[in-house]
């Protein structure tokens, strides 16, 4: 598990940049992946601390990626934050993800949320 690494799986480049900036501001190293298939491949070798997951992705949907993550014990300590604009999907996946954020997601909101999961604070904020 890479405690400092946050993976952003989001096909919209603008939003991906905002998410990345927010997570960087919270003290994470970030990587942006804009394609579902590539995300699945990448996750074979890396175990990020945080995954920001969009649901509408090319090739492999965010829902499938989430299913894969939940079935894999390597990601036991990985926090999955779903970012979706679809309130129905948000409702449906509420229990599957650690957090569901309804787009638009503000920079400040994500930065503050991520801060609580940041490496130097993880031990004290497990309950969140």
């Amino acid at each position: 598990m890479n405690e400092r690494y946050a993976m952003i799986i989001e096909d919209n480049e603008d939003l991906a940049i905002i998410f990345a900036e927010a997570l960087q501001a919270a003290g994470f190293e970030t990587g942006i992946i804009q394609d579902g298939e590539r995300a699945v491949k990448e996750l074979e070798t890396t175990q990020p601390r945080i995954i920001i997951l969009d649901l509408h992705l090319p090739h492999v949907s965010g829902e499938e990626i989430l299913k894969g993550i939940r079935a894999d014990p390597r990601f036991e300590d990985t926090r999955v934050i779903i970012a979706t604009a679809d309130p129905r999907m948000a409702d449906m996946l509420k229990d599957e993800a650690d957090l569901v954020l309804l787009k638009p997601i503000s920079f400040g909101q994500l930065r503050d949320l991520a801060s609580r999961l940041a490496p130097e604070k993880t031990a004290s904020s497990q309950s969140e």
Partner: protein, 460 residues
């Protein structure tokens, strides 16, 4: 014997209703006449064997012979009537009947005595079982028979009796003809009615088809609208989110420090983006409510939480407009209340936002507590303002989607007119009610009443 069974025996299968009617009538006459003959035979039999000898042996034999021959004739006619359509059976029956009458008594009695009236029976029958005018033919035949018999026994043919036969024929002809005409009219009327029913049914079927098509089109439109709204909302929200995010990052100094003017401009960008986003969210909510896709997530929570959320969301807005925002929670407010916290927050924010929008002086007061006695098992949130108030006429309009009460206000007050409509629909979705009390010049109070949990209810 049940009437149904009797009818089955008397009915004749025929496609022509007149033919069927005549042949059934003949059957009835056959059965009636047959029965009469049987009764006559029994009575004459009894009289002949009685010691009083009130009837001569020769007469008895005559009646017996005539009766048996008539019965056989009736049976034959009955069979013919069942098998052949047309008037063969009727003619045969009338012939047999007339002959039977002619030989049923002593010739003198038949010509000018007790049995002469019997000849009127076939005359009357002829017009109903053959044609209306057949009674005249029958009267003619009978006259000939009577005349022939009179000559054979050397008496003058009884002219008044013969004329009487034609008088009977006339009456019979008239009644049969009017019956047939009435039937004809009735049948024509029936046909016309049938035609009308058929026409109407066809029209109805066509209208139904059109209605079904229109309905299908409406449903399709509705589906399209829902899809369109949710797609548009998604496509609008994403770039709006990006604009908002970048403006926020710029203001947070992520890309370097800003001048005061730059910061102010960005603040305006943010404010307008937020406004646009709110509209899009309202449209999306409206579409989801209309499509029945909005689901609630009730949970127990403290009313104080609602008030705190409201203050942090709306406090600044009220302050900017120089309005007070005061909150009061009654001591006996049930704790906790149960509901979809996010949606109740939305309800309260929409009501407060609306109040702020239309109030220029004074303030907004939010009051949470038990509902009044009309709603004994409910709790209530009331938002009152010191705005211009709403007229009686406009009260019905305020909850209608996309309707703004005062058009002059439309330009001044932003929004698409969905806020209160969404509030009402959300409250109804929560099995609650919304009450508007307002008077022009005296402000408005919107009260939302919501059901309590079963264990929180108290008898009143």
């Amino acid at each position: 014997m049940k009437p149904g069974v009797l009818n089955k025996w008397l009915d004749v299968p025929s496609t022509d209703p007149d033919d069927a009617r005549r042949r059934k009538l003949l059957n009835i006459l056959l059965v009636g006449t047959g029965s009469l003959i049987v009764v006559t035979l029994l009575v004459t039999g009894l009289l002949a064997t009685s010691p009083l000898e009130s009837i001569s042996q020769s007469l008895f034999r005559l009646i017996l012979q005539g009766g048996v021959v008539s019965l056989v004739g009736i049976l034959i006619v009955f069979v013919i009537n069942r098998e052949w359509s047309g008037r063969i059976a009727s003619s045969l029956f009338l012939l047999i009947l007339t002959l039977a009458i002619a030989f049923s008594d002593e010739p003198r009695q038949v010509v000018e005595g007790r049995s002469v009236f019997l000849f009127t029976i076939p005359i009357l029958m002829a017009s109903v079982v053959l044609f209306p005018w057949a009674s005249f033919a029958m009267a003619g035949v009978t006259t000939l028979i009577v005349a022939r018999m009179a000559v054979s026994i050397d008496i003058v043919p009884p002219l008044p009796t013969m004329l009487g036969f034609f008088a009977f024929a006339l009456v019979s002809w008239l009644s049969a003809r009017s019956l047939e005409n009435a039937l004809k009219d009735l049948r024509a009327l029936n046909r016309e009615l049938d035609q009308r029913v058929e026409d109407r049914t066809r029209e109805l079927r066509r209208a139904n088809r059109q209605l079904a098509r229109a309905n299908e089109r409406l449903l399709e439109l509705d589906r399209l609208k829902s899809r369109f709204v949710s797609m548009v909302s998604h496509e609008l929200r994403t770039p709006l989110g990006a604009i908002q995010g970048f403006a926020e990052m710029l203001r947070a100094g992520i890309y370097g420090s800003l001048s005061e003017k730059q910061d102010d401009a960005l603040q305006r960008v943010q404010r307008n983006t937020k406004r646009l986003l709110n509209i899009v969210n309202d449209l999306l909510d409206q579409a989801r409510i209309e499509a029945g896709e909005l689901s609630l997530h009730p949970e127990p929570f403290s009313p104080e939480v609602l008030v705190e959320d409201l203050r942090s969301t709306m406090g600044v807005l009220a302050e900017q407009k120089g309005l007070s925002l005061t909150v009061e929670i009654d001591e006996d407010t049930p704790q906790p209340v149960y509901g979809d916290r996010e949606r109740l927050h939305q309800v309260l924010v929409n009501l407060t936002n609306n109040a702020i929008k239309f109030t220029d002086e004074g303030g907004i007061h939010v009051h949470i507590g038990r509902a009044n006695s009309d709603y004994s098992n409910h709790w209530a949130m009331a938002v009152s303002d010191t705005g211009p108030g709403i007229s009686q006429k406009d009260k019905e309009l305020v909850f209608t989607p996309f309707r703004r009460v005062d058009d002059s206000m439309t330009r001044e007050h932003t929004g698409v007119g969905l806020g209160l409509s969404i509030v009402k629909q959300l409250v109804e979705l929560m099995d609650g009610d919304i009450i508007l009390e307002s008077e022009l010049g005296h402000g408005s109070t919107f009260t939302v009443v919501l059901p309590l949990q079963r264990e929180q209810r108290r008898e009143s």
